[in-house]
């Protein structure tokens, strides 16, 4: 396990209520309703198929602009929070930002976003932080849980949740029982080589 200075920092998992405005949430929900087909179909053999829409896949200039703005606000929030606690920090970049939709039956078993137990190589070791913005609450199940921390919750809509990618923050998502769970997820990295240009 990598001993990053931010892992275990008392402010994480960071829960920031009302991070987006209600207008922004409604804009996102209208977009998702109008562009549901853009996600494609789900595939029982491909866990993420038909469930994500990344910034480059979004074919709506207004929505792209909002996603970029949100990404910058998330980076600003996390970078400022780290500098307050740890002193000057190198630039933080967005790796990816995407909508994620979770139909009934989908769940995610506990995992970390940048590390594997036992030191097994992880496909995304540069993902230093994950962030999730909660867009709706008209679904059943779907709670995020952190088994190592004894935390399980469904953050209110408009909330931003941020946590490090280390094993301290193993997390999973309980099965959605009905409705469609919608989130806007992104990963942040200090590694400029994995900077997805969101300018």
């Amino acid at each position: 396990m990598t001993d990053h200075p931010w892992s275990g920092l008392a402010c994480f998992p960071l829960l920031e209520p009302e991070f987006i405005t209600e207008d922004e949430r409604q804009t996102a929900l209208r977009f998702l309703a109008a562009h549901a087909a853009d996600f494609g179909g789900t595939d029982p053999d491909d866990y993420w198929a038909g469930r994500t829409l990344t910034l480059p896949q979004v074919r709506d200039a207004g929505m792209q602009s909002l996603m970029r703005d949100l990404q910058h606000r998330i980076i600003h929030k996390v970078h400022g929070l780290l500098e307050e606690r740890l002193g000057p920090q190198p630039p933080l970049y967005a790796d990816v930002i995407n909508f994620a939709r979770w139909p009934p039956g989908y769940e995610l078993l506990p995992h970390a976003d940048a590390e594997n137990p036992g030191g097994e190589p992880h496909p995304y070791p540069w993902r230093h932080f994950a962030s999730v913005i909660y867009l709706n609450d008209d679904y059943g199940g779907g709670a995020i849980h952190f088994p190592e921390l004894g935390i399980e919750l469904r953050p209110p809509v408009r909330t931003l949740l941020v946590f490090p990618g280390t094993l301290d923050y193993l997390h999973g998502v309980r099965a959605v029982t009905h409705g469609m769970r919608h989130t806007l997820a992104s990963f942040l990295t200090f590694d400029a080589a994995h900077h997805a240009d969101t300018t």
Partner: protein
């Protein structure tokens, strides 16, 4: 540069147990500082833990029933 504390699951559980037992936040703050935490880190720990706990409790609350005529 502000010193930091490491918030372990045990400390989270202790904060929640003390809060549920009715201990005021300033008493918990003093206890953490006495245990070697900086005040800033202790405040972070209290805020993060209690905010998450409130959200957790809110998650379990039944959704309000629609108004009936």
């Amino acid at each position: 540069m502000k010193p930091t504390g490491r918030l372990t699951p045990d400390t989270r559980r202790w904060i929640i147990a003390q809060a549920e037992a009715g201990q005021p936040a300033d008493a918990l703050l003093k206890a953490l500082v006495a245990a070697g935490w900086t005040e800033d880190a202790a405040l972070d720990a209290l805020e993060s833990t209690l905010r998450l706990k409130v959200a957790e409790i809110g998650s379990r609350a039944p959704a309000p029933k629609p108004a009936q005529p």
